[in-house]
């Protein structure tokens, strides 16, 4: 519960110290930050009886309420606050900001506070969306900017970079740590972000980051999504990742309104690991095991329902009334997961994802150009293949064999052109330009040095348990190297003169351009087995294949 717990602690401190009825004033981002960590009923318990957006125009004054604002320290929010203070609606104002507040802003606020309504001004560093205990995101708007050179759109890319810097700084402030910083050398934006972080933590705000030192300093590693373009292109078969790939998860919410035949009360559902015990224990299970577990859940529930049905004595009645809230809650939960499961398997059947996923996994994990070419070609010619799946397998093929056999790549691209599609076939070239062999640092396919080759061979001999989940993201390798202290300084240099000796206890890996739930799963499994090292994963967004392709389309428009 590292990250979620930190945000919850901040909120508890914010709200319990102020007695009486409160109104919580938030901005577009902090609404999401709080929503993933706390529920409405928990807020009610803390006597927060109204939640408002800072830009909402409320008409009537409510002096009996105390306003608690939790906002990002942006110029826009300061203007809104100024409006609130000059024309107050609430009896008191307690100002909390989610990040480092500029002195000039404090002055502006003090200037507009003519009625002495502000009771406190504090920085509480909950400036990231803690979607899971070890996984955070920033929901960066304009995530494609991470792939563009800074000169292309310098104003917006500066803003994107600042937002990421804020997020990283907030994570380390919540953890009370100051890290040594490494970055992936081949990525311009990763380097920039790493250097900005170092400047902030060691120069501009060195006092704020001056925490008690641990024996081995924690590590911040900034890497680029483009170093592993394969993971966001693959179909997923574990619960959380699969839901995101096929239906889309936004701040732990899944929108089902566009799907046919979904009951009205389940048009939008919440999949949160800290509120839903079943989801917590099954979010990383693969599709088959998940089906079995859901069946078990349904059976259990049925038993309970039956015992609730035969009410004969007064005692049964008393028992029923007592268990009713629990029963109703379980009922909602069971129908939620059953609906998810039905929807997922419907989409899998419709798009023939079993066959496609097998080809994808082969492309990602095993070498064998001729066989792969054949498989891709037959799948392309299959009428039932959807356009996004066609594009994806060609991309995966292109990434793997761009150097080995460039003419077959071109052949497949021309083939792709013959099918109508909402995606332009030119995207394959955009992808290669962005994340081709020359741009990458890590050994994505395990064929660059002898050691990795040998390891790959060994894995091939051992055989794989499940063809659909044999892919391991590159991140797994990177983290393993960190733990063994074998991450190469040439590829991942340190910033400044803060070096690391020994094995760090805390590692935060930030992926510029977005994480995936497959990587989150890898990190979770590592944390569960490894003792002593805790890894936290974060990124600008959480990618699935369609969002990744959208980003590529945006990039293509700029070129």
């Amino acid at each position: 519960m590292v990250l979620v717990g930190a945000v919850r602690d901040y909120l508890n401190r914010m709200l319990t110290d102020i007695p009486g009825m409160k109104v919580l004033i938030l901005d577009a981002q902090t609404v999401g930050i709080i929503s993933v960590a706390m529920s409405q009923s928990e807020l009610l318990q803390k006597e927060v009886f109204l939640v408002e957006k800072v830009d909402a125009q409320s008409k009537d004054a409510m002096g009996h309420l105390k306003a608690v604002t939790f906002l990002r320290p942006t110029a826009e929010n300061i203007q809104h606050l100024k409006r609130h203070l000059t024309n107050p609606k609430f009896g008191e104002y307690h100002l909390f900001f989610s990040n480092i507040l500029k002195k000039a802003y404090i002055q502006i606020l003090a200037d507009s506070d003519e009625h002495d309504l502000v009771q406190q001004v504090q920085e509480f560093f909950a400036d990231y969306f803690a979607i899971d205990p070890f996984h955070f995101t920033l929901n960066l708007s304009g995530n494609h900017l991470c792939m563009l050179p800074t000169v292309a759109d310098s104003h917006n890319s500066q803003q994107a970079c600042d937002r990421m810097l804020d997020g990283i700084a907030a994570v380390f402030l919540s953890l009370k740590k100051r890290p040594v910083i490494r970055y992936q050398r081949s990525s311009e934006i990763a380097q920039r972000l790493a250097q900005d972080s170092a400047k902030l933590m060691y120069e501009q705000e060195s006092g704020l980051f001056d925490f008690r030192r641990t024996e081995v300093a924690p590590l911040l590693l900034v890497i680029d999504r483009r170093d592993d373009p394969v993971t966001p292109l693959l179909n997923q078969w574990t619960y959380q990742a699969m839901v995101h790939e096929l239906l889309g998860i936004q701040d732990n919410r899944v929108d089902l309104t566009r799907l046919p035949k979904v009951p009205k009360d389940l048009q939008e559902v919440v999949l949160s690991s800290h509120q839903d015990a079943f989801f917590k224990s099954n979010m990383f299970e693969n599709f088959g095991d998940l089906g079995a577990n859901i069946k078990k859940l349904v059976d259990e529930f049925q038993q309970k329902a039956q015992s609730n049905q035969n009410i004969q004595s007064l005692e049964d009645m008393v028992k029923f009334v007592e268990n009713y809230p629990e029963y109703r809650k379980q009922h909602g939960n069971v129908s939620k997961h059953v609906t998810m499961m039905t929807e997922l398997s419907r989409i899998v059947d419709e798009r023939q994802l079993m066959a496609i996923s097998q080809i994808e996994q082969e492309l990602a994990c095993t070498a064998g150009q001729a066989a792969a070419f054949e498989a891709v070609l037959t799948q392309l010619n299959n009428e039932k293949t959807s356009d996004i799946d066609r594009l994806r397998i060609v991309m995966l093929y292109a990434l793997r064999y761009e150097r080995e056999s460039p003419q077959t790549v071109e052949q497949l691209i021309t083939h792709l052109r013959s099918w109508p599609s909402k995606y332009k076939p030119g995207l394959v070239h955009t992808l290669l330009r962005q994340a081709g062999f020359d741009k990458r640092t890590g050994d994505l396919y395990g064929n660059r040095d002898l050691f990795n080759k040998a390891r790959n061979m060994a894995r091939g001999l051992k055989g794989v348990e499940n063809v659909y989940t044999q892919h391991q993201p590159l991140l797994a390798q990177t983290i393993e190297s960190i733990m063994r202290g074998r991450l190469r300084d040439i590829d991942y240099p340190f910033v400044g003169n803060h070096f690391q000796q020994g094995r760090p206890q805390d590692v935060v890996v930030f992926i510029v351009g977005g994480t995936t739930y497959e990587e989150a799963r890898t990190v979770h499994l590592l944390n569960a087995t490894q003792t002593g090292t805790r890894v936290i994963l974060g990124g600008s967004v959480v990618q699935n294949s369609s969002s990744f392709l959208n980003d590529l389309e945006e990039v293509q428009r700029f070129q």
């Binding site: 938030l26 409405q40 009896g91 404090i106 002495d116 009334v321």
Partner: protein, 324 residues
């Protein structure tokens, strides 16, 4: 979990600006902005002097105005009453628990003082809970205020309902526990009594040989006593069952108010967007209503004019016919 407190710095800035502000208002440069922003400070009189003096009183009069103008709405009192009652119920429940344990202790005297207090206490608690529940229903009824106010009221109601539900659940568990223990004790006692009487009877049979089979005076007295005891226990049990039933009703009413945790309804962002969409929808509906109203007026107008035309024509024709 690092935090940084800027309150002291903020206060310092505020103090500094307060000292600066009146002079800024009189000063030649940059004064106009201050004037616009703080018209209260410059009401008539020689500016410089008055402004300094009136600075603080204005602020306080604003605060006073704000509190008098915005006396908390009436429902705040209701919610305070509900929470006070709940607290009292909680206190009573603690007392009741003590009384329960005392009543269950084996005693040698026959006084039923404990049972009486238990009865009184449980009746009072049930009454309190019922009262809370009724008040809670009132909370949503009162005069409809703005949308925000309605929203707050609903939320207050929800949170109180959640607390009340938990409280009545506790109470019921307490009652049920006592009931079970009481029943167990009674069963045990009756078994004991039966055996005792049986043994006595056998012994008597052995003693008297051919004498009449029946109870002697002592046995009769014993029997009567146990009967009275069991009747009393019976009464107690029915009482508790009654209060359990009352509570069941309360629970049913509350469950409508309490929101399920972990569902989409319990999401903060969902609730915010729902409020804003409902506001938007309201605006849309208003516009639509206005349109239809306008349309309705037009149609009426045309209808009236047509009717008038027909009438005029009729009169004209009539006049022509009558005239000639």
């Amino acid at each position: 979990m690092a935090t940084r407190n800027h309150t002291a710095l903020y206060r310092r800035y505020r103090e500094a600006l307060r000292n600066v502000r009146p002079y800024a208002a009189t000063g030649p440069g940059g004064g106009s902005i201050e004037l616009v922003e703080a018209p209260l400070l410059n009401q008539g009189g020689p500016r410089g002097y008055n402004a300094i003096v009136s600075d603080d009183p204005d602020a306080t009069s604003f605060r006073a105005g704000m509190t008098t103008m915005n006396l908390p709405p009436a429902w705040v009192d209701i919610s305070d009453q509900v929470s006070a009652d709940m607290q009292r119920a909680q206190g009573k429940m603690a007392e009741l628990a003590k009384a329960h344990s005392r009543a269950l202790m084996p005693t040698f005297d026959e006084s039923s003082g404990e049972e009486h207090t238990i009865e009184l206490l449980s009746r009072e608690i049930t009454k309190l809970l019922k009262k809370c529940e009724q008040r809670l229903q009132q909370l949503s009824k009162g005069a409809p205020g703005s949308e925000q106010d309605a929203n707050i009221r609903k939320n207050v109601q929800r949170s109180l309902a959640t607390d009340l539900q938990a409280l009545s659940m506790d109470y019921r568990k307490q009652q049920k526990g006592y009931l079970q223990k009481l029943q167990r004790q009674r069963e045990g006692q009756s078994v004991d009594d039966g055996i005792g009487i049986g043994k006595q009877q056998i012994r008597q049979d052995e003693d008297d040989g051919f004498s009449q089979v029946g109870f002697n005076v002592q046995q009769m007295a014993q029997l009567r006593q146990t009967e009275a005891l069991s009747a009393e226990r019976e009464k107690e049990i029915t009482q508790i069952v009654e209060s359990v039933n009352d509570l069941a009703q309360i629970m049913k009413d509350l469950s409508i108010l309490v929101i399920d945790q972990g569902t989409i309804v319990d999401r903060i962002d969902y609730n915010i967007t729902r409020v804003s969409t409902s506001v938007e929808q309201g605006v849309k509906e208003l516009v639509k209503a206005e349109e239809t109203q306008k349309k309705g007026g037009m149609v009426m107008c045309v209808m009236v004019l047509v009717a008038l035309c027909a009438l005029m024509l009729f009169v004209y024709v009539l006049k022509k016919i009558l005239g000639f």
